[in-house]
């Protein structure tokens, strides 16, 4: 299986108060058609790596290989919606920006809003919606560009536990049913539990400057049960790796 995306020896440092702080220290990784969860202690550079993959930042050295014309969807940590637009137009705007007419863009946006269960709310403004609903719009917008790669930056960290849990299972359903164009998901998270519940493969990073501490495949069949012995065992292994 040829990789969808590969990172070759990516490094990155920031200047802060005149000092240079290295964040990423040579990350190499091949990602195929799979769901990757990226785990690591807070401030280790997970989000920076995700931003580099999205093209929001440039690595100091190394490179990111993505097939030409591959589209990328991004689920931001916060909904990041334009308050002056209805959610339908919020989802349609990226399509519009790429030269699609409003009619066609809205048609496509409607399709993905209904996929995330929001078809009845298309005329709502973001301020009229709950946090969980706004995060769904964020997801619908990412899917509507019909991306090959879906990036998610701690997408559940600002939701209440119940809402987070139902959104997790919805995303898993979309992924396992294969109703979207997404072939790879990379999710940054600091929850070991969430990573094992959702992903095919866990990539664990060391504290700053981040290197890859280990890659663990999750071979537990879905739907996964948090209380099962194999789940618990895997969780212990991941914690050991992070602590090391």
């Amino acid at each position: 299986m040829s990789p969808v995306l590969s990172l070759v020896n990516v490094t990155k440092s920031y200047k802060q108060d005149g000092r240079s702080i290295q964040v990423l220290n040579g990350i190499s990784l091949e990602i195929g058609e799979e769901f990757i969860a990226m785990l690591g202690p807070s401030g280790c550079g997970k989000t920076t790596l995700l931003r580099i993959i999205a093209g929001l930042e440039k690595p100091d050295s190394g490179r990111v290989d993505i097939p030409e014309n591959a589209k990328v969807g991004f689920v931001f940590q916060f909904p990041t919606l334009l308050p002056w637009m209805t959610i339908l137009d919020n989802v349609a705007l990226p399509l519009k920006a790429q030269g699609m007419g409003w009619g066609e863009a809205r048609e496509r946006a409607r399709k993905y809003l209904s996929l995330t269960g929001l078809q009845a709310f298309e005329d709502f403004y973001p301020r009229e919606m709950s946090g969980g609903m706004k995060q769904r719009v964020n997801l619908a917008r990412a899917l509507a560009v019909e991306p090959m790669i879906l990036l998610m930056d701690e997408p559940f960290s600002n939701l209440d536990p119940l809402t987070a849990e139902s959104l997790r299972s919805e995303i898993l359903d979309l992924w396992t049913l294969g109703v979207t164009t997404v072939r790879s998901i990379i999710m940054v998270t600091h929850s070991v539990d969430e990573a094992i519940l959702m992903a095919d493969k866990l990539v664990i990073l060391t504290p700053r400057p981040a290197k890859i501490a280990g890659v663990i495949e999750v071979r537990i069949p879905r739907p996964r049960d948090r209380r099962s012995a194999e789940f618990q065992k895997l969780e212990d292994r991941v914690y050991e790796l992070i602590a090391a």
Binding site: A54, L56, T80, L82, M85, L93, P94, A97, R141
Partner: protein
């Protein structure tokens, strides 16, 4: 009568042209400053100076420039529109700039991830984000435009005098003829036009967009809103489509900027060549004259600003306590602030010519009009919005009332917007010295001294260079004051009273 209508239409059109240009310029410059560090570093200090100097002083030079660069008729018209723009533009630019600057940076990340082009970001992120501050500032800018309307319609430069068709000219001509019926008719129509534009357009806009109660009538505004809205979105869609189709090479943006700068420089040099030659001795003379008259104006301006602070605080408190008062005072303020500086003199001619102190009283009124309303609008629009509900409730629970409430809650809460309003009022007061310290009624000249009077005397002699030099020196002094005094004051206020807990 038909002539009067024609004059009113001409003035309104002139105002409209200047306003539309101001808004477009404000959007382009404001967004460019907020989005690009280098543009910000270049423009911020320039605008800082421009907004607080007496633009009227540069007007003769600007007029000479426009008249030489453009054909005579268009040149004078362009100069008039230019003058009105200089009285509207600065607060609009700063409003757009701070709105875009304070947008959540994640939104720009979002636009980058989804590969939105400049046009999309401009039309769908930056412009909607600036909408509230554009409307709030338009209430002030529209009045500022009227305030300078007459000065822009009758332009005297030595022997040459340019008169444009308009209400300002109509009023002044009636007054010069001694036609008091015509004069009051002109002033009445001016007031009607100003009142109508506020009640029909700006107040409804403020009500819809700022969600604030104002005296207004809706139907006209709804039509304007929907047609401007559809025009704007058509323009936006065209630009976005063009941008998606045509991928400009990355240097295109820089090339456009360089081309614009070069052509501005070309015109500027062409215009400057036409100006009278540089006479070092006369420059020296005008500098001395300005230095000599400056303290007088400084004293007047400081007094007026202090008085404005006091008056506007009182008016704000009254508005806060009784909403009815606010509605009336706002409307009265909108109209009073709009009355052209030059019209105050003939309007109050009996006072001005009646006693030796008369001119000083009228000058005070003119300067007050040029500064007070900046403060009041700032306090009403931004200040009262910043008054925190929890502090109000706390005061009610602990029965903090009357003077105590004013001193410990009300005024401290207003201080940040009081400070920025006072800065505008200070600039406005300097600007109005040009209209307040010198006026000529046909044969009679009232000259109460000061820098504004110096500028007028030089303009009356046709000494464009002297006017520009004096204005330049004055700008320098004002800038020094701003940097030395206001900046520290702002920092102190921000540290002590700004932000949260």
């Amino acid at each position: 009568m038909l002539y009067l209508l024609l004059c009113a239409a001409a003035s309104v059109l002139r105002m409209l042209a200047a306003y539309v240009l101001s808004v477009l310029l404000a959007l382009v410059f404001g967004v460019a400053m907020a989005r690009s560090r280098s543009v910000e570093r270049f423009l911020l200090p320039i605008l800082d100076i421009l907004q607080s100097i007496p633009i009227l002083g540069f007007f003769p030079a600007a007029l000479a420039f426009f008249v030489t660069v453009l054909p005579a008729g268009i040149g004078v018209e362009a100069a008039a529109v230019f003058l009105i723009i200089t009285s509207q533009l600065w607060n609009l630019i700063f409003g757009v700039y701070s709105s875009v600057k304070s947008l959540d940076p994640m939104l720009f990340d979002m636009s980058k991830v989804y590969r939105m082009g400049r046009a999309t970001v401009f039309f769908y992120l930056c412009v909607p984000a600036s909408r509230n501050s554009l409307v709030a500032n338009s209430l002030i800018s529209w009045a500022g435009g009227w305030f300078f309307l007459t000065s822009s319609e009758i332009i005297t430069m030595g022997a040459a005098e340019h008169r444009l068709l308009g209400l300002g000219t109509f009023i002044m001509e009636a007054f010069e003829r001694g036609d008091s019926y015509g004069f009051y008719l002109g002033v009445a129509s001016l007031l009607t036009v100003i009142l109508a534009t506020y009640i029909l357009v700006w107040n409804p806009a403020g009500e819809t967009i700022l969600e604030r109660e104002l005296i207004s009538l809706r139907p006209v505004y709804s039509t304007i809103e929907s047609s401007v809205g559809s025009l704007w979105s058509t323009l936006g869609n065209l630009m976005i489509k063009a941008e998606a189709r045509i991928r400009l090479p990355s240097f295109a943006g820089k090339a456009i900027v360089i081309a614009v700068l070069t052509s501005i420089a070309y015109f500027l040099v062409g215009g400057l060549k036409q100006l009278p030659s540089f006479d070092i001795e006369s420059v020296y003379g005008s500098l001395l004259e300005v230095a000599y008259e400056l303290p007088l104006s400084l004293a007047r301006v400081s007094t007026i600003v202090a008085f404005s602070v006091f008056l506007s605080l009182a008016a704000t408190y009254a508005s806060y306590a009784r909403k009815g008062i606010m509605l009336v005072v706002l409307l009265v303020g909108e109209v009073l602030a709009s009355i052209p500086a030059v019209v105050w003199w003939p309007l109050l001619a009996s006072i001005a010519l009646g006693s030796p102190l008369g001119p000083y009283m009228v000058a005070t009124v003119v300067m007050l009009q040029g500064s007070l309303w900046y403060l009041y609008f700032n306090l009403i629009v931004y200040g009262l919005a910043g008054l925190r509900k929890d502090l109000e409730e706390m005061s009610r629970v602990y029965r903090i009332r009357g003077l105590w409430y004013l001193r410990s809650v009300f005024i401290p809460s207003l201080l940040p917007s009081l400070a920025s309003g006072a800065l505008s009022a200070w600039g406005g007061a300097w600007n109005s010295t040009v209209a307040a310290e010198y006026v000529s009624f046909g044969e009679r000249v009232i000259d109460i001294g000061g820098v504004g009077a110096v500028l007028n005397r030089k303009a009356a002699k046709g000494d464009a260079l002297g006017v520009a030099m004096s204005a330049l020196l004055l700008s320098l002094v004002i800038t020094v004051f701003n940097k030395a005094l206001w900046k520290r004051f702002f920092e102190f206020i921000e540290r002590r009273y700004g932000g949260g807990e």
